[in-house]
C-alpha cells in the first residue's frame, strides 16, 4: 500500500514538473528559450499499415510506433545506441548470449511496470505463425534460437530463445555469434507489447480507446487516411525531459499539396518534391535541408538463364555502367544533393570503408572511352552487333526521367538501343521477382545501419536477389561477416568484387530533403536511417 502511494506521488510530481518545467522555459541542455506551444505536425505520404509493434512494416507506421513504444535500446541523433528500457547489456564470451538489464522505473501508460516478460511475450508473438507478422523473419534474422522453427510452425512459440530471468533481466540465446545484435533491438518488431490488453481487445487493441503503450507518447486520436495524434505519456520514465507535447501526422498523398500546406503554416515538416530543392533552398535557406540517407538507387541485370546473353559478358555490364554520367542525373535531373553512386552500399553506412573502385576515380571522358573499348571488345557497337534490350521501371515520373537520360547516354556513347518499359508497382515487383526482365530498376534502403543490409542482396541465396547474381566468394565473405567482430574488411572486399563483375549498376545514393520549420530543433540529420523520436525534438522560442 505504502509502495503504491509512493509511486503515485512520484508520478504526480513528474506530471506537475512536466507541466510547469518547460512551459516557455529553457531547454535543459542547450539552455535555449523554448516556444510556448510544443506541437509538431508533419506530413506522411500514406496511411500507416498498423501501430502494432509486431505487425507494423512501413516507415510511417514505424515512426509512430517508435514514439508510442520503447524497445530495449534507442538511437541518438547520430544513430548511436543509447539506453531505452534496458539500461545496459552484457554479452557472453562467444557473442551468442546477451543479457539486458531493464530499468525499474519503466511503466506502461496504464501504470503497470514494464518487465522482461513483456519482451518475451512480444518476441514470441512476433514469431508465432498465428500472429502472421510480415516481419516475423526479423526474429530469424536476429538468429534467436528456434526462431526459424517457430515461424515454420514446427515448434511452439514458447520455445523461442528468449527468457525473463527475473522481472528486470532479459536473456537472449542466439544460434550464432552476432556482434551487431544490440543494434537490432532498436527495430519496432522487438518492442514490448502489453499482453493483458492484447488478450482483452484482440485485433482492436491498437485503437486509441484501447491501446496501452510504454513509450514517451500515447495514441490519442486516429482518423484513418487523415491524421493520427500522439500526446505525452505521463507515465513515461523520462517524461521530465520530454518537451514536445503533441505530435500530429497528417496523411497528404500529393507532395505539392503538402508543400502548399507547409507554406501556409499547417505543417512543420514535409518532403521537398523532386527537382525543387535548389529553388526552395534559395527562397528559404533556413528551412530547406538535405542530408544523406541509407538508400541506393540502381539497375540490376538479369543474370539468370532467362536473362539476355549479352549481359552474361562482364565487359558489356561494365561498359553500360561506365557510360552513365551520374553527375548529370544527380545535378540536372534530381537536384536534391544526392550522391553519385559507384558502390552499392552508401558511403554513409556505419563501419563501411568505401573501396577505391577503379571507375569511380576516372573522369567521365575516361569512363566513356573505357566503355567504348569494352563494348568493342565484346563485339558490340560499330562494326559489330547492335546491342538492344529493355529497361524496366515502375511507373513514376522521376524514374522515367532517369531512364530516359540513361538510355540517351547509352545511345549516344555506345550506340546501344535501350527500350523503356514501365509497369505499375505490384506488377513490376512480380515481373522482376520472376526474372521476367532484362534490366530493371531497383532501390534499397537499409533496415539497419550496417553494410550487410545492402550486400545481402547479392547473396546467391537471398530472396531479394532479383538479378540472380551468384559468386561463391561473395557468399563466403558474407557468411564470415555475420559472425566476425569486425566485418568491415569483408564488405569492402565484396564491393571490390562487385565493381569488377558489375551485377548491378549503382546510380545514386539518396538524400532526404525536407522543408522544416525554422524553430524546430534537434532533428537528427546525422541519423542516416532517419530514426527520429518526438521526445528528442523541441521548438525554440523565436
Amino acid at each position: 500500500m505504502k509502495h503504491f502511494a509512493f509511486g503515485l506521488t512520484v508520478s504526480f510530481t513528474a506530471l506537475t514538473l512536466a507541466a510547469t518545467a518547460f512551459a516557455a522555459g529553457n531547454h535543459p541542455e542547450t539552455g535555449e528559450a523554448l516556444a510556448e506551444t510544443q506541437v509538431f505536425t508533419y506530413r506522411v505520404l500514406d496511411e500507416h499499415s498498423s501501430v502494432d509493434p509486431q505487425i507494423v512494416e512501413d516507415v510511417s507506421g514505424s515512426e509512430i510506433v517508435r514514439d508510442l513504444f520503447e524497445g530495449l535500446m534507442n538511437q541518438d541523433a547520430d544513430g548511436n545506441l543509447v539506453p531505452g528500457v534496458a539500461t545496459d547489456y552484457e554479452v557472453s564470451e562467444g557473442n551468442d548470449e546477451y543479457i539486458f538489464n531493464l530499468r525499474a522505473d519503466a511503466k506502461w501508460s496504464n501504470g503497470d511496470p514494464v518487465t522482461a516478460h513483456d519482451f518475451v511475450f512480444a518476441w514470441q508473438r512476433a514469431a508465432d505463425p498465428a500472429t502472421a507478422s510480415p516481419y516475423s523473419w526479423y526474429i530469424e534474422l536476429m538468429s534467436i534460437q528456434n526462431g526459424a522453427q517457430i515461424i515454420a510452425g514446427e515448434m511452439p512459440p514458447s520455445e523461442l530463445g528468449v527468457e525473463a530471468v527475473d522481472d528486470l533481466t532479459l536473456k537472449v540465446s542466439l544460434t550464432q555469434p552476432l556482434p551487431y545484435f544490440p543494434k537490432m533491438v532498436t527495430h519496432a518488431t522487438t518492442f514490448p507489447s502489453p499482453k493483458k490488453v492484447i488478450e482483452e481487445h484482440g485485433a482492436e487493441w491498437t485503437k486509441p480507446e484501447n491501446i496501452v503503450s510504454n513509450g514517451a507518447y500515447m495514441l490519442t486520436e486516429h482518423v484513418p487516411n487523415e491524421r493520427s495524434v500522439r500526446e505525452r505519456n505521463p507515465m513515461y520514465w523520462d517524461n521530465d525531459n520530454t518537451i514536445i507535447d503533441k505530435t500530429v501526422a497528417l496523411v497528404i498523398n500529393d507532395e505539392n499539396t503538402a508543400l502548399a500546406r507547409y507554406k501556409a503554416g499547417e505543417l512543420n515538416r514535409t518532403e521537398i518534391p523532386t527537382g525543387q530543392y535548389p529553388s526552395l533552398k534559395a527562397e528559404f535557406p533556413n528551412q530547406a535541408t538535405a542530408f544523406p540517407r541509407l538508400c541506393s538507387y540502381y539497375y540490376t541485370y538479369n543474370l539468370s538463364d532467362s536473362g539476355p546473353e549479352a549481359f552474361k559478358d562482364v565487359r558489356v555490364r561494365q561498359a553500360l555502367a561506365y557510360a552513365i554520367d551520374r553527375n548529370v542525373i544527380v545535378e540536372n535531373v534530381l537536384q536534391g544533393g544526392q550522391f553519385p553512386a559507384y558502390t552499392f552500399t552508401p558511403g554513409a553506412t556505419a563501419g563501411f570503408d568505401v573501396p577505391d573502385v577503379d571507375y569511380a576515380g576516372l573522369s567521365q571522358a575516361e569512363r566513356d572511352a573505357k566503355a567504348k573499348e569494352l563494348m568493342a571488345e565484346a563485339g558490340y557497337g560499330p562494326g559489330g552487333e547492335k546491342l538492344e534490350f529493355d529497361m524496366l521501371y515502375n511507373t513514376s515520373e522521376a524514374h522515367q526521367q532517369i531512364a530516359t537520360v540513361m538510355s540517351q547516354m547509352w545511345k549516344q556513347k555506345l550506340g546501344v538501343e535501350a527500350t523503356l518499359a514501365n509497369l505499375e508497382w505490384k506488377v513490376f515487383l512480380d515481373t522482376r521477382g520472376n526474372q521476367d526482365f532484362e534490366l530493371a530498376r531497383g532501390a534499397w534502403c537499409g533496415d539497419y545501419n550496417e553494410a550487410s543490409t545492402f550486400l545481402d542482396l547479392v547473396d546467391s541465396g537471398s530472396g531479394y536477389n532479383d538479378g540472380k547474381y551468384s559468386n561463391e566468394m561473395v557468399d563466403q565473405l558474407l557468411a564470415e561477416a555475420k559472425t566476425s567482430k569486425d566485418p568491415s574488411a569483408n564488405y569492402t572486399k565484396i564491393e571490390e568484387i562487385m565493381s569488377a563483375e558489375m551485377p548491378v549498376i549503382p546510380i545514386y545514393h539518396y538524400t532526404g530533403s525536407y522543408m522544416m520549420s525554422e524553430d524546430l530543433r534537434n532533428w537528427p540529420v546525422n541519423n542516416v536511417e532517419q530514426n527520429w523520436y518526438s521526445k528528442d525534438l523541441y521548438f525554440a522560442a523565436n
Binding site: D46, E47, S49, S50, V51, D52, I55, E57, P129, A130, A132, S133, P134, S136, W137, E140, I151, A152, G153, A203, T206, K207, V223, P224, N225, E226, R227, L250, V251, I252, N253, D254, N256, T257, A260, R261, K263, A264, E266, E424, W425, K426, V427, L429, D430, T431, G433, A443, W444, G463, Y464
Partner: protein, 307 residues
Amino acid sequence: MINFILRRLAIAIPTLLLLIVITFVLMYSAPGGPFTSERPLPPQVLANIEAKYGLNQPLWRQIVTYIWGIVTEFDFGPSFQYKDRTVNDVIAQGFPVTLTYGFLSFIVAVAVGVTLGVVAAIRQNTLIDYLAVGTSIGAQVLPNFVMAPILVLTFTLWLGWLPGGGWEGGKIEYLILPVIALSTSYMASIARITRSSMLEVLNSNFIRTARAKGIPERQIIIGHALKPSLLPVISYLGPTFVAMITGSVVIDVYFSTGGIGQMFVNSALSRDYSVMMGVTILMGGLTITFNLIVDILYAWIDPKIRL
C-alpha cells in the same frame, strides 16, 4: 409501380452477385498480390500470412466464404493493408466524409447548374446567355485536378482565408474548397443540358399554345416548361449523384479529406482485395439504388412513361 420496384430489386441481387464474382476474378488475375513487396517475404512467412487471410484456399471457396460472411454477419473481412482495421471500419470512416462533401457538391451543382441553364435559355443569344455558356464551358474544361491546386494557391497561400486541406470532422472551412472543386464541372454539364433541353421545350407546341393563351411568361417557365425540360437532367443526375457521394480520388488526394474515393484507387494499387471488394459493392449497390430512384422520378415527372 410496386410490382416494378419489386422486379427491379429482384434483378439487383443477381447483378450484385455477378459484380462480386467478376471483381474477384479480375482482382486475382492482376499480377502481384496484397503481400507482394519490394522485400519479398520468406516463403514460410508468406504462407503464415496467406493462411491467416484465407488466401491459401481455392478461389471459388474464397468467393463463397466472402459472400457468406456478408450475408450472415455483414462482415466484409479485414483490410489486408491496414492491418489494424476491418473493411467495415474503413468504409464507416471514409464514406461519411465523401457523403458529406459529395452531397453538398451535388446540391450546389444542381442549384447553380439548373439556374444558369434556365437563365441562359430564356435569355437566349443575349449577353447573359453568352456569359452563362462561357462560364459553364470554362468550368467544364478546367478539370478538378487543375482546379484544386489553383484554389489552394488562391485561398490558402495568397489570401490565407481557408485551410489547404484536412477534414477536422467536416468543419465548414474545410468543406468549401473541396465542394467548389468537385461541383464545378458537374455544374457546367448540368447547365448545358438544362439550357438545351429548355430551349427545345420552349420551342414546342404546347408552350406556343400557352403563350397564345396569354399566360404570363414567368408562369410558363416555372409551371409548364421547367418540369419537362428537367427530364434529361434527371437521367444525368442518377449516376452523377452516386459518383459524387462515393467521392473523387482527386478531391481526396488534393485535400487529404480521408474519403472513400482515394481508397478505391489505393486498394487497387496495393491489391487490398477486401477493401477493393467492399468499396466496389458499396458503389455498385448505390448505383443500382439510384438508377431505380431515377426511373421512379421519371414516371412521376413524365406521365407518358408507364412503369
